[in-house]
């Protein structure tokens, strides 16, 4: 981030997708909950449940040995939720 522009906030969904390594799927449209949404807006559907866990992961030290396993578990859950095959 450039200095002098700290107040420009990144989209919350995109931030979590980047945390999970799925930010390249942010603009992909999927059908979730009967509605067509972009993946970046997945929090609109399951945000009440996923946001605390993702925030906890965001504050977790990446050096923590539990970080990567948890990250992978959440990545699998979100990928399944939005219908994206893991690794794509």
């Amino acid at each position: 981030m450039e200095r002098g522009k700290p107040d420009i906030e990144e989209h919350e969904g995109v931030r979590f997708l980047r945390l999970l390594g799925l930010d390249h799927l942010a603009d992909t449209e999927v059908v979730a909950g009967g509605n067509t949404i972009e993946v970046r807006n997945f929090l609109d559907v399951c945000g009440d449940h996923a946001r605390p866990v993702l925030l906890g992961l965001e504050t977790m030290d990446p050096a923590d040995p539990r970080f990567e396993p948890t990250k992978e578990a959440l990545r699998g859950l979100i990928s399944q939720y939005v219908g994206i095959e893991q690794g794509t």
């Binding site: 981030m1 200095r3 002098g4 700290p6 107040d7 420009i8 906030e9 990144e10 979730a32 559907v45 399951c46 945000g47 009440d48 449940h49 996923a50 946001r51 605390p52 866990v53 993702l54 925030l55 906890g56 992961l57 965001e58 504050t59 977790m60 539990r66 396993p69 948890t70 578990a73 959440l74 859950l77 979100i78 399944q80 939720y81 219908g83």
Partner: protein, 555 residues
């Protein structure tokens, strides 16, 4: 923290649902693995589920059920941490909603300060976190005193709301305000002197002033007349008295206007009344009904009653004893025929109005036609019935008027014009004719003796036959061969008041002591009523007596 063994594998749901995550959160917050055997928890969709153990609840969760216990515990721990952050963010946001402007004012400087202090590259998330926490702490500091202030205000508001909304006036205020009513020692003394014994003020004088103000009926007007005696410069002149009205009234506009009017027009009266004390005139009608004794009694003189005579006046002492003796006997020297005629006039005067005067003139005219020689005619009454107005409309003569001219032209001009010329001459000063001047002074003495003024509100006229006799002597002195005819002509052309005003003019001007003040004042009574009062009947009686004498002379 869950410590049980790994949950048995379950069929994974097709999609991860929020309900499962919420269920996990509930389990994480509620359960205590030590002493809870059966766990009841509510899912997001509102359904209540019961698990026999935390492991059972986890196995039922579509998300956590496929995870190992260790991994599920990590998720629960992260969810707990994240939930705390969300709660921490929500709280400042709610406070910022209440104080949005204050938050904006403090946020930007804090961010700039953090950036300045950190010379290295700062991650965006770190900056946001710092800003959030700092803002929160500062906002809490700002909110705290405000809350205390609000509490204080609420406490005072509650206290005020419980107090009765009644304007309180202490008894001391009432006393002070009432004291102002009688604040003047002079007024207070006068009121006490006048009302003591009649209204029981003396018995309650020790009470508060409030009681006094309540007991006294609403007085609209209090008139205090200070009479200052003035010694006449001429030893033989009637004593003149300057009457000054000091009116003390309430704050009503009408009373103020009356006060100003009276102050602008102080009246001067030649009165032989010498009142020892001040005269109070209460114009309040209610007070007049309750305490009629406070008001000046109407004088209803009856000349046939010798017991009722004008009150003793010290001025009479200044007159020569022989003159006083000369004046009095004429008042009772009335024959029966004249008395009968005047009783008829007096009965007619009950309907006292303008009609009465015209009737009087008409009656005089009838009597004149029947008894007076033909050459005495009753002329049409003049429109100018105020002597002062008559003087104003008199043309200024180019020739200098002297007493000889007046005497020469007396029989050829109306009496009012002769009066006007004589007055003009008197205003210029005294003149040489000793006979005329003596006659004028004699008339002035007689007029001053018989006339008295009690107030500006009502003029009581007391004209005696002695005045008439002195007036006739004066007319003869200025050249009238038949003064009775001249008097009748004047009354027929104008009215009785006109003659009285002319006589008063002459009487005032003849007195050198009050001539100056008289000329500045307005000697015309504005409230003269066309009422034939006993005093007026005396004048008419005198005139008709003269007519009768004249007729007898012709016969």
């Amino acid at each position: 923290m869950l410590t049980s063994e790994a949950a048995p594998p379950r069929a994974m749901p097709d999609r991860v649902s929020g309900e499962t995550l919420h269920g996990v959160e509930n389990i994480g917050h509620q359960q205590s693995p030590v002493d809870i055997e059966a766990i009841s928890y509510t899912r997001v969709d509102g359904t209540v589920e019961v698990a026999s153990s935390p492991e059972d609840a986890m196995r039922r969760c579509p998300v956590l059920g496929k995870m190992s216990v260790e991994q599920a515990n990590v998720l629960l721990e992260l969810a707990s941490i994240g939930q705390e952050k969300i709660d921490a963010q929500k709280k400042p946001k709610e406070e910022f909603k209440q104080k949005p402007e204050e938050h904006k004012e403090t946020k930007k400087p804090i961010v700039e300060q953090v950036i300045k202090e950190d010379t290295k590259t700062i991650a965006q998330s770190e900056v946001k976190e710092t800003v959030t926490v700092t803002t929160k702490s500062l906002h809490e500091e700002m909110i705290q005193p405000q809350s205390e202030l609000d509490k204080t205000i609420d406490a005072h508001s509650a206290k005020i709301a419980t107090e009765p909304k009644v304007a309180r006036v202490t008894s001391s205020d009432e006393a002070i305000q009432a004291q102002k009513l009688v604040d003047s020692p002079y007024i207070e003394q006068q009121v006490r002197d006048k009302l003591a014994g009649r209204q029981n003020i003396k018995d309650e004088s020790s009470d508060k002033a409030t009681n006094i103000s309540l007991r006294i009926p609403p007085i609209e007007e209090i008139v205090i007349t200070n009479r200052l005696d003035r010694q006449p410069t001429a030893p033989d002149a009637p004593r003149a008295e300057i009457v000054i009205d000091n009116r003390i009234m309430d704050t009503t506009v009408a009373s103020k206007e009356t006060t100003e009017e009276n102050q602008e027009e102080p009246f001067l009266a030649t009165s032989q009344d010498s009142l020892d004390d001040d005269t109070f005139i209460f114009t309040d009608t209610e007070l007049a009904q309750e305490m009629p004794e406070l008001f000046i009694a109407e004088r209803d003189w009856d000349i046939t009653d010798p017991a009722i005579l004008p009150p003793f006046d010290p001025v009479a002492e200044t007159l020569d004893a022989s003159e006083s003796i000369d004046l009095l006997p004429e008042q009772v020297a009335i024959d029966a025929e004249t008395t009968e005629l005047f009783e008829q006039l007096l009965a007619m005067s009950v309907e006292a109005d303008e009609e009465t005067t015209s009737t009087f003139v008409k009656l005089v005219g009838e009597q004149s036609e029947a008894q007076v020689p033909k050459e005495v005619t009753v002329e049409v009454t003049s429109d100018v019935n105020v002597f002062a107005d008559f003087l104003d409309i008199q043309p200024e003569s180019e020739e200098t008027i002297d007493i000889e001219t007046i005497v020469t032209n007396a029989n050829e001009q109306p009496l009012e014009e002769t009066f006007a010329q004589l007055i003009e001459l008197l205003e210029g000063g005294s003149f040489d004719s000793t006979d005329v001047m003596s006659a004028i002074k004699d008339f002035s003495k007689a007029f001053a003796y018989s006339n008295r003024e009690h107030s500006t509100e009502r003029e009581e006229l007391l004209v005696t036959p002695a005045i008439t006799q002195k007036l006739l002597d004066l007319l003869r002195a200025i050249g009238y061969e038949n003064p009775q005819e001249a008097l009748l002509g004047l009354i027929s052309r104008h009215d009785l008041e006109f003659l009285v005003q002319a006589m008063r003019y002459l009487a005032q001007l003849a007195n050198p002591d009050n001539q100056h003040e008289f000329l500045r004042s307005n000697p015309v009574s504005h409230t003269f009523k066309y009422v034939i009062e006993p005093a007026a009947t005396r004048l008419g009686r005198s005139i008709l007596l003269l007519i009768k004498q004249q007729n007898l002379a012709y016969e």
